[in-house]
Symmetry: C2
Subunit: 268 residues, 2 copies
Amino acid sequence: MQTSPPPTAQQLAAFSSFAQTLADRVRPLSRQWFRHPLSVDTKADESPVTQADREVEAALREAIASQYPDHGIFGEEFGASHAEAEWVWSLDPIDGTRAFISGNPLWGTLLALLHRGRPVLGLIDIPMLAERWLGAAGSPARLNGEPCRVSACTGLQHATLYATSPDIFEGADMAAFEALTRSVRMRRYGGDCYSYGLLASGHVDLVVEAGLQPYDYLALMPVIEGAGGVITDWSGQPLGLESQGRVIAAATPQLHREAMRVLGAATT
Amino acid sequence: MQTSPPPTAQQLAAFSSFAQTLADRVRPLSRQWFRHPLSVDTKADESPVTQADREVEAALREAIASQYPDHGIFGEEFGASHAEAEWVWSLDPIDGTRAFISGNPLWGTLLALLHRGRPVLGLIDIPMLAERWLGAAGSPARLNGEPCRVSACTGLQHATLYATSPDIFEGADMAAFEALTRSVRMRRYGGDCYSYGLLASGHVDLVVEAGLQPYDYLALMPVIEGAGGVITDWSGQPLGLESQGRVIAAATPQLHREAMRVLGAATT
């Protein structure tokens, strides 16, 4: 890819505003399907998908293509189009489909905007709770328009750790996760993308997961980083389209380092 | 205890109305502490407790003592008073304190009214979601005033199973729970009392837990039963003050029987 200047604050402000318009547009769509009878199909990776996932993603794609026809799109349900474009949107219409189909309101819509492969804008929308985290490179992250900030937690022994489910870890990853949770103050399950919002707002100190897809984590990155936190893969490398889906998000660099050390010691 | 006629519909209607007044009164109190700095103490059983738990229970006790001075009260934080009374209230001011202190909105206030030891009225209030399930003997359970009903699920292979966390199971109970979850369609963690509300409304088919206290489950019973479901201990016995905290709640008698069979086979 050719090098190009980073996005300007003006571009990011315009795209942030557009991302909010997108989220506003699809909120009623996903809300209307929640707790209504839906046929649930199973995808190749055994994850569930519903008509709600497909309708929300279709609406998002249509709105993006209409406003920015030269932008690429990479979505959970309908794949990639113009993936080589300078600007590419990553879409997860319903993150937490298992929560969604069991009447649990802790699911969300995830939008990220990538500039030459790097996420510069992320949005986590929780339709049933009317909570929305927005992060854009160079600006503080916001929850419903108000700046939010991670906690000051630096030690594992004081940390509250969230993960969606122990079922996301396999083999050595499970052993590493277990080792980590033995050193924290409290671990809780459930949440999908909501856990990362709680981290960005300082309520949770650490989120550690595995088996995530790019559309699951790209939107989280600008939010966590804009709130002052750290998010990487389990070896401390930046997350990207090629990452293997092992995500660690921490309130502080110290906590991030400590968690990586425990995970690393358990897997080597 | 002397025998006495069961409560009349008129009595239950009056107590249901009073229970709603109680929940209305303390909703703003618990909401105001949510996501605000709180010092967290640790109780003898290692569970966390906060000023919010104590303030909410104190407000509930004061309102009950003022309206019904001859009723007994049994609360999570301040113990029993008049436990020998014909009518006794069971109170859990904040069920899901771990969710509460980590900014997760899926916690609730639980109220039950026992008549000679048997729960005849139960209320599950979820302050942050403004959702309230109410059950009273002989009436259909209601969510925010509208009748609700469990699902028609009769087979484990179709069932969605919830539990608060795998960490609530110890020893043989953990093995039994694992055996059960291998036979269901989907398992999810997180939720505390909210899982039972989702069961009463037909979104979740099965909730299986261990280590619960009476104030955790007494309020759930009239709600689950009023919604057409079944709730007992793991051997099918009615839950009471002396139960050992192993709870199974199911949408249908068939599902309840199947789940008990798998749990029993794994523990014997």
